[in-house]
Symmetry: C2
Subunit: 330 residues, 2 copies
């Protein structure tokens, strides 16, 4: 059953091609261990060339045991493993520990995938991770991009990241491991500042499931699937509009034709602004609905030469004919 | 403050034009009574010609007192009032009471608006109604359309319906009435099957506000605002695609060019299917994500002449060159 769900998801999202070299991120927790077993079971059928990457974040005293566990598992399954240890706590002196840990992990995966020339990086996110992510984004405020949740297949920094378990509910994972009599380490997600996710996982989602709708997990996942397609379409339209509106600009600066911008549909206007900021700042994290509202106020109501300051040092100035978006010099 | 919020919303969504004849739906509850006071305060400024419509659903023994209350208020404010009583319970022998009550109320508003030649129908939905609606739709499963929530301005059956209070939180309503020393009847929303909405209103939303994010109401409203624009853009694109793909058809039937359909983006494919069904069946209520998935399976995987049955007697048959969508003869 779990194998069928994964096979279907792999097919639907074209996650894997025959002969792919796949780097599997394995923390040692139930999700990634199941992913490892499942891809290992599909290895012949899909002619996969599997490798394992394990990062020891050194956040718990016994984290080395996770590493030993994963390395033992790799030996038994005859899959090469690349491990590394990084003192994430020391990196995280400033900023969110969860964020830093995530970035360190991804950087390690990318480094390793490059070294072994992997075609894909496979991660163990489940349908429950999907549901939690969407609820968190709803609670913290989100637009279409956030409501797309975790994408089944996504290019990050040039690497193809796939989530074969994205349609598998977590309870099936536990049942799968039990049936296989396979062990896994504790889910290593008790970092301080993923407290919010833990509350959503352990309190809010069960409450919604028990008292409001038993199918909430599936429905949130369906919603994400639909919204992701909608977002993709809109984003492509906005990308084309952005290209059309660009009137020169240089490194760290882009000028958008104001007259053309005003002719766009409001939905595309907002996405064009997001894309322009993302191009300059590398991401739109921390760009909120309030910022977008302020930019709209700048464009529609304020006089020429008015300025809006955005996170990550991005600045927008309304000129007579263009909207100038640039990174402020420090 | 509440007046400013309403003024801004009226301006942003172009709800009212000078000289408009506006029919205000007034139940007698705090929301619609506040709406009445506010529009009455804006009457001169916007040169409004106000009328009141009150429907007595006869669902409570003392519902006639709501009617008397509203008629008294109308006299004091010197606004003409049209009241009617309908035994909704008798209409609702089959089907959902909430649904029937809503339909009876809307039909009464439309009938009355037509009679007095009103330009707009104003209803008292608040930002809290918006937040509840979106949460309910998330919990029950929804796509972009549902996540758009309650639209500030929307044409229904040819009538322009506006919601001037859509950005006003309910706590401001209570404060407004208290300050004005104005009375209102109990909110008459204790129908049996709006139990679900009441749970969302009285339990879930307060829980999210207190334990997860104090700004949840505003964030959900922002989300709805963004998503509504996105949906409008996509829906317009799908409408154009549908026109292009129509290969004849007759009353109760439409043929869609299959080859052209397959070239569309998946997001537009789904919306085209929804629009085609909506054109035939009058609405897409009860059309779920599972139905859309089944249609996609029909199109992509099943042999020619396969059939999918949908709610409201709609049928889809895959032919060699077209997708035939029609209402089944009984």
């Amino acid at each position: 059953m779990i194998l069928d769900t994964v096979r279907q998801a792999i097919k639907r999202y074209r996650m894997l091609d025959k002969g792919d070299k796949v780097l599997i991120g394995v923390s040692g927790g139930p999700d990634s261990v199941s992913l490892l077993y499942i891809l290992s079971a599909l290895r012949k059928e899909l002619k996969l060339n599997l490798h394992i990457a394990h990062l020891d974040h050194m956040l718990r005293a016994d984290s080395a045991k996770d590493r030993e566990f994963v390395e033992g598992l790799a030996r038994r399954l005859k899959i090469p493993v690349i491990s590394e240890s990084i003192d994430v706590m020391r990196l995280a002196e400033k900023g969110s520990l969860e964020e830093i840990a995530r970035e360190a992990r991804l950087a390690f995966f990318f480094r390793t995938a490059k070294k072994i020339r992997a075609d894909k990086i496979a991660l163990g996110h489940t349908r429950d991770d999907q549901a939690e992510t969407i609820l968190m984004r709803i609670i913290r405020g989100s637009g279409l991009y956030g409501l797309s949740g975790i994408l089944p297949k996504r290019k990050i920094a040039g690497f193809q990241v796939i989530r074969p378990l994205i349609e598998v509910p977590r309870r099936q994972i536990a049942a799968f491991l039990k049936k296989k009599k396979a062990a896994a380490r504790q889910d290593p997600s008790n970092l301080e500042d993923i407290y919010f996710r833990n509350r959503v996982r352990n309190k809010l989602l069960p409450l919604l499931r028990e008292q409001y709708n038993p199918n909430i997990g599936e429905l949130l996942a369906n919603m994400a699937q639909g919204v992701a397609a909608d977002y993709e379409y809109l984003n492509a339209a906005a990308g084309k509009a952005l290209l059309r509106l660009k009137k020169g600009g240089s490194r760290g600066k882009v000028d958008l034709d104001l007259k053309g911008f005003l002719k766009l549909h409001p939905a595309i206007q907002r996405l064009v602004l997001r894309l322009a900021v993302s191009d300059l700042a590398g991401s739109t994290r921390r760009l909120t609905f309030q910022h977008i509202k302020e930019i709209e106020d700048l464009i529609f109501n304020r006089p020429v030469n008015s300025v809006v300051d955005l996170p990550r040092g991005v600045c927008i100035v309304k000129k007579k004919q263009v909207l100038a978006v640039f990174i402020k010099q420090k």
